[in-house]
């Protein structure tokens, strides 16, 4: 009752297997990337992305031009100050990173930037409160917000950060530490913990 194996059938079967495997390999970037966050990290590492041409406002109400940060390494995290869970973990991890890298920070070779994606709520006062909670000094570690919604959209888009509201009135987002190189390009995205791994990732980028 079974069909005969014709040469055509054998070729078709081989072609389906090859095409299916190839398609899956392309989809997963060689069986390594399965998530949107994984794809973002691979893409950033392959093609560093220039920062959008925008300015930010920090916890002291000072204006910060992203362009002015060129020439040093900048570590960024995205936060919203009302966040009770992951963002305070992120803040603590960032504080620990700051402690480990105090040398380069003090030299001005490195800077930390906590960026709020909730600028409507996160006024300079709220940012200042967050800064005090986590020990951001306002010079080497600044807590900032975009100055309007267009800038916020441009920033999130360029970083590949997706923010969705949760059921508790807060947000969920792909949390990570983003490294901006001396040419002002987003060049690496890494997990914010363990701090040792963050430090190990950053060190080769620094002078000395």
């Amino acid at each position: 009752m079974q069909d005969r194996v014709t040469p055509l059938a054998a070729v078709v079967l081989a072609a389906v297997l090859a095409a299916g495997t190839a398609a899956f390999a392309v989809t997963t970037d060689g069986f390594t990337v399965y998530t949107t966050e994984g794809a973002r990290r691979a893409s950033v590492e392959r093609d560093p992305r220039p920062m959008p041409d925008i300015t930010l406002e920090d916890q002291n109400g000072r204006i910060l031009d992203l362009d002015d940060l060129r020439g040093r390494i900048v570590l960024t995290e995205f936060i919203y100050t009302r966040c009770a869970t992951i963002c305070s973990e992120l803040g603590q991890a960032f504080a620990q990173t700051a402690k480990e890298l105090h040398g380069p920070l003090a030299r001005g070779d490195l800077m930390l930037l906590s960026i709020s994606f909730d600028p409507a709520y996160d006024t300079p006062a709220a940012l200042s409160d967050y800064a005090a909670r986590h020990g951001a000094d306002g010079t080497h570690w600044r807590v900032v917000r975009p100055r309007n919604t267009e800038d916020l959209a441009a920033l999130l888009d360029r970083f590949g950060v997706v923010v969705i509201p949760n059921d508790l009135g807060g947000y969920e987002h792909n949390a990570a530490v983003q490294l901006i190189d001396r040419d002002g390009r987003l060049a690496r995205v890494v997990d914010y913990t363990p701090v040792d791994a963050v430090v190990a990732e950053v060190k080769p980028w620094l002078d000395g």
Binding site: D3, V5, A23, F24, T27, Y34, T36, E37, N166, E172
Partner: protein, 207 residues
């Protein structure tokens, strides 16, 4: 009977087409995609079902049967397509990029429903068992991964939804495994009768 005479296609086919169109209606589509579990466990399987229904009793064309030795080529196409839609970023991309959404709405009916309808009956018993057990373990693995993963695998879905989807995938796997097991235990005689009847029918037809 009158209906059947007047319609060039069957009611089942009509239902399949209706289902396909209904799933594409914007409010329904948005509702199905707003929740990860609905997206993975309702919309995607229904799209496959729509394709399967639309094919109906239309026999596979000659070229298909020639190319599809033992039902394997078509079944493999279906397996690859379902595996593709188990990749979390592809699920994300369907929400963001209309090209992926189109791929989903045409790919799942035409590359899973259709080939399964035509190839599955041609697959040997061992082949079917192999495919079923593989799909079950793959689904269970994805379900477990969604529950155990320390990260959110989809950026467009909340972590709670991911856990729920994982649990439901596990429940679905367990139920399907039970059904498959019961079929293996008690369905043997019935299956043998069907096989015998099919063989007889085919011989009569071919003769």
């Amino acid at each position: 009977m009158v209906g059947r005479l007047m319609l060039p296609i069957s009611w089942a086919q009509l239902c399949g087409a209706g289902l396909w169109i209904a799933l594409a209606i914007p409010p329904l589509r948005a509702a199905a995609e707003a929740d990860m579990s609905l997206h993975m466990l309702v919309q995607i399987p229904l799209l496959m079902l729509a394709g399967w229904l639309v094919v109906g009793r239309t026999p596979a064309p000659r070229w298909y049967r020639t190319a599809d030795y033992g039902g394997w080529a078509g079944t493999l196409v279906a397996i690859f397509t379902t595996s593709y839609w188990m990749v979390p970023w592809v699920l994300d991309a369907a929400l963001l990029d209309v090209r992926f959404e189109l791929l989903k709405f045409f790919g799942l009916p035409l590359l899973v429903g259709l080939p399964l309808r035509w190839s599955w009956p041609r697959l040997s018993c061992v082949g079917r068992g192999f495919v079923i057990t593989n799909m079950l373990s793959m689904t269970a693995f994805v379900g477990w991964l969604y529950i155990a993963a320390p990260v959110r695998v989809c950026v467009y879905y909340l972590v709670d939804q991911q856990t729920t989807a994982g649990k439901l995938l596990l429940v679905a796997t367990i139920l399907a495994s039970l059904l498959f097991f019961l079929r293996c235990l008690f369905g043997g005689a019935a299956a043998a009768r069907v096989d015998a009847a099919e063989r007889q029918g085919r011989t009569a037809f071919e003769g």
